[in-house]
């Protein structure tokens, strides 16, 4: 209802069917006045998807992947949902304790690896028959 949906003919091969049947679905909405998206998410989307926004400030998403109008519309809506969720995700905040633990884990792994390597090396050495 707040999205402007329009259908037009898709591109690509297909003869008479592609020429006559409206299957490309395009959904556009004015980003700045979309009150169903929170303000900060809106700004983030304006930054991230600059290429999809036209001069009038409308975010345009189109799809011509399927042969059916309804499916193309569903794909458009899915894409919009994906854009919004992408913009909503926050950067992962790693607390100080867990970051220290992570560093300790990495060091432990390296130490263990070098120890195993030394053991393996001694095993191989013991198999050598060196006759002086």
């Amino acid at each position: 209802d707040r999205l402007t949906i329009s259908y037009c003919r898709s591109s690509g091969p297909g003869g008479q069917n592609v020429n006559k049947v409206n299957t490309k679905a395009e959904v556009r909405f004015h980003l700045a006045s979309a009150d169903w998206i929170p303000e900060d998410v809106r700004q983030k989307m304006a930054l991230m998807h600059r290429k999809r926004i036209n001069r009038a400030g409308e975010l345009i998403v189109n799809s011509e992947e399927s042969r059916y109008q309804m499916r193309n519309l569903a794909i458009c809506l899915e894409k919009i949902r994906g854009l919004v969720t992408e913009a909503t995700e926050r950067p992962k905040v790693v607390s100080k304790e867990t970051s220290q633990q992570l560093i300790e884990r990495v060091e432990k792994m390296n130490r263990e690896r070098l120890r195993q390597k030394r053991i393996h090396s001694s095993v191989k050495q013991s198999r050598k028959a060196d006759f002086d």
Binding site: N22, Y68, Q69, M70, A74
Partner: protein
Amino acid sequence: MGGNGANKALELLRSLPRVTLANLRPSEGSKKQEKRRGRGRYGGRKCGRGHKGQRQRGNRPRLGFEGGQTPFYLVIPKYGFNDGHSLRRQYQPLSLQRLQYLIDLGRVDPKLPIDLTQLINGRGVTVQPLKRDYGVQLVEEGADIFSAKINIEVQRASELAIAAIEKNGGVVTTSFYDPRSLEILCKPVVFFLRGQPIPKRMLPPEDLVLYYTDAKNRGYLADPSKVEKARLELAKKYGYTLPDITKDELFQMLSTRKDPRQIFFGLAPGWVVSLSDKKILKPTDERLLEYYSS
């Protein structure tokens, strides 16, 4: 303009001579002359057999023989593409375009619940229960053009097809018919002439129980509340407002469903329909009633 043509045709009928064998001729290109060998300069002489050799003498080897080299059809190893093909369930496809065509021509009535029997009576689909057909499946072709409010019952339906029907305010249900019930459903008159009581419809086998208890497929064994939720979800996914069928004038017709053990609308299992007497006989014995109402 049409009236003028009709008048002209009637005038012609009055003035032209009587239609006889002498006045008739087949349409141009419909009758092609057959090839007759051994007659005349062109059909005779070698009679289309070529010059000497196995060809002329009729001694060519069997189809596929490659002169001793392992033929193509034996070089390629076998693989189980067709294993158990005679046990696989087949569903006759019914596109939404064809359904719209049938409704527009008046062969299927949208004011009544559409059943497999209605489709077959309107010669919309041909189902062969003996060829491992288990019914009809709804296919998306014509989903954009579809605009009819119907209560339809099929055996399988794809998501887009369900969405297209519900968008126009209709109702879809998927239900199971075992082969015997399917045969009865496809040819009811032949069954009634046999004089046997209507059997109860069997429940689906293990692999299909999950399919028919799922609300997403609008299965007949699924929870009605879950079906409502699934309708809303589908409307959200495909971006249309779900029309409220409770406020519809045809709500009663749209909400008629068959009982899981029922084969025909209005006829219960155990009844005997006699077409010659135009009567329905119902069982009175307790045990029979118990059996048929299980």
